[in-house]
Subunit: 387 residues, 2 copies
C-alpha cells in the first residue's frame, strides 16, 4: 500500500472562480490593482515616496506589482521575512523594526550582501551590534532611529535622548544615519474620520519635533518614514513624512473597512476597496437555526474581529459570521426568525477577513481571480517567516 498522495491544488489558472477548493484566500485582481494605482497616484501627487509594507501580504508578486507602478522599495518587519522578497528581485528593503541581538544582525548582514537594506534602532546597544555585524562581512547598513510618536511601543520617546544615538551612528563607519521612522499603529483604526485626522495630526506634530531637533543637530536630507493605511490621507498632507509605509490598503480588511472615510472622488483619494476574500463552504446545516462553514481560526485571524460575509459586492445584510472555532465558522441570520436566509449545504460563502496581516500568514498561496476566472496563484513566500 503506497503512502504517496499529493494534495490536489486548490485552484489552477483558467478554472472558474466558483470551483476553487475551500477554504482558500481569493484576491479580486481588478480591485487590488485599483488599490495599488490609487495609493501610488496619491503619493505621487503629494510628492511623497511610497514604500509599501510587505508584512501585510508576505507575497513577492504583490511587492513587484507595487514597485512596477512606482513604489521605491518595500518594508519588512522581520529579517527572515525579507529573504523571499530579496530572492524575487526586490532590491530595496527597509526593516521597519529593531533587532533582538547579534544573531539577527548577522542575518541582516547576509541580506545586505544581496539587497540594499536599512533597519531601525532605538538603543545604543543595537547600534554597536549592527556595526560589528556589518564589519564582520564587509558590508554596511543604513540606519533609521525609530521615534515614539504616541504608540508607546518601540522608539525613542524624548527628542533629547535621540541625539546620543545620532552621534553614535555617525561615528561608526559601517553605519549611515538615513532618517527617522515614526509609526503610530494605534491611530490607524480610530473609527471616526475626524478622530483619525486629529490623531494623525498629533503624531505628525511629534514627528516634526524630532525632525526639528535632528536638523538643529546638523542632519540634512533625512528620510522621514512612517504612516499606515488608516492615516495615509493625513500623512501625505502633513508635510512631515518624505515616505509612507501603508500595507493593508491593497486588501482593505474588515477592520479597515469599519473605519469612517469621507466620500472622495478626487484623483488623489486614498480610499480603497475590499479585494481580499476567504472562499468557504457550508459543511453542516444540521443545527437548523445556523450553518457551519469550513473556515475557522486556522483560516483567519480574529484578533480584530470576526469576518464579514460578502455577497453581491457588499456586506451581507441578512447573514452574520457569529463564531470562529478552530476549523468551523458559525453563520447565523441577523434576524433569528429568518432561517430561510441561511445558505444550503455545500454552497459557497465569501468572507472579508477581520485583519489581513495575520490572516495572510496562515496561507501558502493567494488565488487571483478576474471576471470570474482564476488568473494566477501567487505564493505567500514569506508566510511563517517571523524571525
Amino acid at each position: 500500500m503506497s503512502t504517496a498522495f499529493d494534495l490536489p491544488p486548490a485552484a489552477r489558472p483558467g478554472q472558474p472562480a466558483d470551483t476553487i477548493d475551500t477554504p482558500s484566500l481569493v484576491l479580486d485582481l481588478d480591485a487590488f490593482e485599483r488599490n495599488v494605482d490609487r495609493m501610488q497616484r496619491a503619493a505621487n501627487r503629494a510628492r511623497v515616496k511610497l514604500r509599501p509594507h510587505a508584512k501585510a501580504h508576505k507575497c513577492p508578486d504583490i511587492s513587484l506589482a507595487q514597485i512596477k507602478r512606482g513604489a521605491v522599495g518595500i518594508c519588512c518587519q522581520k529579517i527572515s521575512e525579507a529573504i523571499p522578497f530579496a530572492r524575487a528581485g526586490v532590491r530595496d528593503i527597509h526593516i521597519s523594526n529593531e533587532l533582538a541581538g547579534p544573531a539577527k544582525a548577522a542575518m541582516l548582514a547576509q541580506l545586505a550582501l544581496r539587497a540594499h537594506v536599512s533597519v531601525c534602532v532605538d538603543d545604543m546597544a543595537q547600534i554597536d551590534i549592527l556595526a560589528k555585524a556589518a564589519e564582520a562581512v564587509g558590508t554596511r547598513f543604513d540606519v533609521f532611529i525609530e521615534v515614539n510618536v504616541g504608540q508607546g511601543r518601540c522608539g525613542v520617546t524624548d527628542p533629547a535622548a535621540m541625539l546620543p544615538l545620532v552621534d553614535r551612528i555617525t561615528r561608526l563607519h559601517p553605519l549611515s544615519l538615513c532618517g527617522l521612522q515614526a509609526y503610530h499603529g494605534g491611530i490607524q483604526h480610530l473609527r471616526g474620520w475626524q478622530e483619525r485626522r486629529a490623531g494623525a495630526a498629533r503624531a505628525a506634530d511629534r514627528t516634526g519635533a524630532f525632525v526639528a531637533r535632528l536638523e538643529a543637530a546638523g542632519a540634512r536630507n533625512m528620510v522621514i518614514t512612517g504612516g499606515g493605511s488608516g492615516s495615509v490621507e493625513f500623512d501625505l498632507q502633513s508635510g512631515v513624512y518624505t515616505e509612507i509605509q501603508p500595507g493593508s490598503y491593497v486588501f482593505m480588511d474588515a477592520d479597515y473597512g469599519a473605519n469612517e472615510y469621507l466620500t472622495d472622488e478626487r484623483p488623489a483619494s486614498t480610499n480603497c476597496e475590499h479585494s481580499l476574500f476567504i472562499a468557504s463552504a457550508v459543511m453542516s446545516v444540521a443545527a437548523g437555526d445556523r450553518v457551519v462553514v469550513d473556515a475557522g481560526l486556522k483560516s483567519m485571524a480574529v484578533d480584530s474581529g470576526l469576518p464579514w460575509i460578502w455577497a453581491n459586492g457588499a456586506r451581507s445584510e441578512t447573514l452574520e459570521y457569529v463564531a470562529a472555532n478552530d476549523e468551523h465558522g458559525i453563520i447565523a441570520p441577523r434576524l433569528a426568525s429568518r432561517v430561510r436566509d441561511l445558505p444550503a449545504l455545500g454552497s459557497r460563502v465569501m468572507l472579508v477577513p477581520g485583519h489581513c496581516d495575520p490572516t495572510l500568514n496562515l496561507y501558502d498561496e493567494i488565488i487571483g481571480v478576474r471576471d470570474g476566472v482564476v488568473e494566477c496563484v501567487w505564493p505567500v513566500a514569506a508566510r511563517g517567516l517571523s524571525r
Copy 2:
C-alpha cells in the same frame, strides 16, 4: 549580485536550548512524554481506546509517538490535514468532521486507498456524496453519525432524526456505519472542576440517549467516539464512550492551564503539564515602563487569551504579556512600580501560548529540547492544511 540566501535554521540538534533563534516553538520533551504516557495509562485503565486528535499539533512525529505507546490511530479535522500523517505511516485516521461537497469526498477516497479512514456525517446528502466518491475509485468508507450533545455546531440534534441516516448508510454498499461521534467543545474550558464534571455528565447522558436509540434499532458493537482534553477524566469514567479524542493534553496551553483540576496522584490521573513554549527575545526597552518581545500575533493565536510568561518552571508572578501586535508583544510588570523586574534588551522570554491548536498552525517546526539541549526538530507537516 546573487539573490540566493537561505534562512539559517532556528536550531540544530545538539545546540544549547537557550541559543534557539526567536520566535520559535519549543517542546519540553520530558514533559511531553509524561503527558503522552499519562493519557495512555488512564485510557488503558478505563478500557477505553485512545485516538488522539492531530489537529492540536499537525505533527506526524507526535502521532507516531502516541501510536507507539498504544493509541489506536488518530483524528484529523480536515482531509488535507490527514495526508502528511498517512504519508508518515499512520494507518488509521478518523476525519472527525463533515465534508463540504463532492470534491472533498473525492480527496477522501484517494486517502482511503492509502489508509483506513472514517468520516462523520449529519445529513443525508453527505451520505450519498460519500457513497458515490467511494464507488468511483473502488474503495469504501467507515461512517460515523455526528450527534449534537450540547455544542450546537455540527451533528444531529434529535435521536429520531438519526435513524433515517442509519438506514441510508446501511443500504449503501461502499459505506459502513461504525458508530457515533459526540463532542462538546464548549465544556472543555469550563473553569471549575465541578462545573466541567456536570457539563461532561450532561453530554454523556445525551450521548447515551443516542446510543440507546441506535441499539434499539438493532445496531451492535458501535464505536462511540468523543471527548476532549478538558473533559477526558469524566469521559473515561462515563461508561458511554468506547474511544476518546483528546489532542491538546500533550501540550497543555494556557487556556487549559486556567482550568481548575483536582490534585490527583493516582496512576490513572489525566492531569497534564505545560510542555509547549514560544521562545521570544526582547527587542526594545526604549519605552522604559514596558519591554517589547519579537513574538506577536504571527507567532501565537490569541483567540483564547494572551500567553503566560514562564519562568523557573511556573507562571511569572512579576511580569505579564499585556498586548499582542502583529510582530510585537508587550511585556509589563504586574505592579507598575516594579519596572526593575523587566528583562533586559536581547534577553530571552519563554511564553505558554493561550491556545495551542491555531498556534501550531503558524509554525513549520517544533524544536524538541531535553536537559537544556536541542534533541530534535519535528516538521509541523500539516500546518496550513485546512482544506
